[in-house]
């Protein structure tokens, strides 16, 4: 789960990483009180998970009250669905650093990434100036040694007081990374101020979903998602992505669903939504179809090839969903795997025409979407 900047910064502060003074507001009315804490100039930072907020105009530097009110109003009214703004003190920046910790799956170590030029996306840095990227690998059992922190600091060219403050930030960032079962923890930019303070300018924290049993769980709210449908499906625990094409996918298995997505594109079709109801969700056919029917798709394509997710159970689910939801569009099925003979019987009994070949099913769906016969 990706957290918002304000949540990441809360975690930073809890772990001893300095952040600028800031107040989270949910309406323009709270701006006055917030600015009394931060002072002017200040920064209005829309709390959205998307990257490139700066370029999208979702972060505004403002000099005074009048400007702040104007820009704040604009942000809350924007089409980006801004519901929270972090009002933050503007910091006197001397320098910006990139700093993050993630996992290296090959070495089976944690990986610290740093760059003396912060503020830019790390992917851009990696592509354009790979030689400037500093990597330090941390053994998960031994932990982060002080010499490793120094190695990063010296490579960044830090000295004296800044080196000491940076070292504390990195040590604490590592603690936060571990304590939160993080996939990624990132400070970009990490400010070096005119007074040689080291302060987190921005914050990203992505928590491993599999660690839920031992981690504080954040309530899933609409803000975390681009669309209502993605929010709703997340509440159900159903992997779902919203597109605006013609064919709703209702498939099982991440790899197979992705492949069906590719095949539709190859055949000139367009996808309305990506949806997996395999794995633990294979009995959720009704809920899955309901999500698909909310789209303006022209056909629903069901493709599965399961083992534990039994074909007959999925077929029954589809038939049940059709009975309950009475879908207004054709459904193409290609259900294979454990007990597939039984599945086919169930589908036929319900008046469907079960297909056995994925490509055939894809072509059928694309044809229907293009106005062909169901």
């Amino acid at each position: 789960m990706k957290l918002f900047e304000y949540q990441a910064k809360e975690t930073f502060r809890k772990n001893g990483i300095p952040t600028p003074e800031s107040v989270l507001i949910t309406s323009e009315n709270e701006l006055g009180a917030a600015s009394e804490i931060t002072g002017y100039p200040l920064v209005l930072k829309s709390q959205l998970l998307m990257g490139g907020r700066g370029k999208a105009g979702l972060i505004r530097f403002v000099q005074d009250r009048a400007q702040a009110e104007r820009e704040c109003g604009e942000l809350f009214a924007s089409h980006f669905h801004v519901t929270k703004i972090l009002v933050e003190q503007a910091v006197d920046i001397k320098n910006e650093i990139y700093l993050s910790i993630t996992v290296d799956p090959v070495k089976a170590k944690y990986m610290i990434i740093a760059c003396a030029e912060g503020g830019v996306e790390i992917e851009t840095l990696a592509a354009e100036t790979p030689e400037k990227i500093i990597r330090e690998y941390v053994d998960p059992d031994n932990g982060l040694h002080p010499y490793q922190v120094r190695n990063v600091a010296f490579q960044l060219g830090l000295t004296g007081d800044v080196l000491k403050k940076f070292s504390l930030v990195l040590s604490n960032l590592y603690k936060a990374f571990l304590a939160n079962d993080a996939e990624l923890i990132e400070i970009n930019p990490l400010f070096i101020t005119g007074k040689d303070d080291v302060i987190a300018g921005d914050g990203k924290l992505s928590i491993d979903d599999n660690s839920g049993f031992r981690q504080k769980t954040y309530e899933i709210t609409r803000d975390y998602f681009d669309t209502d449908a993605e929010y709703e499906s997340a509440l159900e625990g159903i992997p779902y992505l919203q597109f605006d094409g013609d064919i709703s996918l209702m498939c099982a298995g991440a790899g197979l669903t992705t492949t069906v997505y590719d095949l539709i594109n190859y055949e000139g079709g367009t996808v309305a939504n990506y949806l997996e109801f395999g794995g633990p969700n294979y009995k959720k056919a009704v809920r899955a179809m309901e999500l698909c029917l909310k789209n303006d798709s022209k056909v629903i394509l069901v493709v599965t090839f399961g083992t534990i997710a039994r074909a007959d159970v999925m077929a029954e689910g589809i038939v049940d969903a059709i009975k309950r939801l009475k879908p207004d569009r054709p459904i193409v099925t290609c259900i294979r795997g454990t007990n597939e003979e039984e599945a086919n019987r169930i589908l036929k009994d319900a008046g469907l025409v079960p297909l056995y070949d994925t490509e055939e099913a894809v072509r059928k769906a694309v044809s229907i979407a293009a106005g062909g016969e169901a």
Binding site: A108, A252, L256, T307, T338
Partner: protein, 294 residues
């Protein structure tokens, strides 16, 4: 001779008394697997499918010779079970757990590397040498997928494996040994690390890898070929060619960002060393025929 597992491999089942453990132990035996014992803490004295159940791996290996361990253990206890198996001297471990915490997975892989052990999974269906033995839960009864033959298969997926392997069989081939690396961001064992065994295996003529966007496992295979460590024909099928960047499509391990881990790069890497990448599952068989001169 098969790789990783064959009919002589002595398999221990950790978590044998659970519902899943019992069910698939029966099927593993049905597939020919030489399951020798089971472990469930607190259940010593019970039997499952006629096999003795022990409190611990250490007590099991004191009584039975064990070559490999199959884990039917929930994700949150998987790290402990893997370390217990390693402590018991077991060098081949398969875990099907879907949902192993990322930081646990890092520690599991690190321990495996250190011990010179191979941990297969998690988030996989396991490994199978059709007609000989199986660790995990493959629908080996579907003959149009799990037909014995001479093609090695490695995969990051479950359902897609059934899809692609069915195409391999449809093209007239069969499977020598299939290894489900699994769809997690940090699998215990990586594609490239299995290639030397396929290279050595006299029963494997070519290898099919079923990959997807994200990560670098396919590129690592290309490096093995480039370095001459793998010389047999290799065909890849990669899901997510048309996936939009930045969206979490496919497995948790499959996130494309900043151009790294894109299917385009993977295709380039594999083709540059003479491997083939099938655009559609159906084409995998065609490429195999071409490379094997059939």
């Amino acid at each position: 001779m098969s790789i990783f597992i064959n009919e002589t491999t002595k398999v221990l089942v950790q978590g044998i008394t659970g519902k899943e453990g019992r069910y698939w132990t029966e099927h593993m035996i049905g597939c020919g697997t030489n399951v020798v014992a089971g472990v469930t803490p607190g259940k010593e004295g019970q039997t499952v499918e006629g096999l003795d159940v022990y409190h611990s791996v250490r007590r099991a290996v004191a009584q039975e010779k064990v070559d490999a361990s199959m884990l039917f253990v929930p994700p949150r206890f998987t790290k402990d079970a893997v370390f217990e198996a390693l402590d018991g001297g077991i060098k081949k471990i398969v875990t099907i757990a879907d949902g192993i915490p990322l930081h646990d997975a890092v520690q599991i892989r690190k321990a495996a590397l250190l011990e010179g052990a191979q941990v297969i999974g998690g988030n996989t269906s396991g490994v199978i040498s059709p007609g000989k033995a199986m660790m995990g839960f493959f629908p080996y009864w579907i003959e149009r997928v799990y037909k014995p033959g001479r093609i090695g298969v490695m995969t990051r997926s479950g359902s897609l494996t059934n899809e692609v392997t069915a195409m391999v069989v449809k093209a007239g081939f069969g499977v020598s040994s299939l290894i489900g690396i699994g769809g997690d961001p940090v699998p215990g064992t990586r594609f490239a690390e299995m290639l030397p065994q396929y290279e050595q295996d006299s029963e494997t003529d070519a290898v099919v890898i079923i990959g997807e966007l994200g990560g670098s496992m396919e590129e690592e295979c290309a490096r093995m070929i480039r370095d001459g460590l793998f010389t047999k024909p290799l065909v890849a099928f990669l899901g997510g060619r048309t996936a939009p960047e930045g969206k979490r499509m496919g497995h948790a391990g499959a996130i494309v960002s900043g151009g790294k881990g894109s299917v385009k790069d993977k295709i380039k890497a594999i083709e540059s060393v003479g491997g083939k990448v099938a655009q559609r599952p159906r084409f995998v068989g065609d490429h195999l025929k071409e490379l094997l001169g059939k």
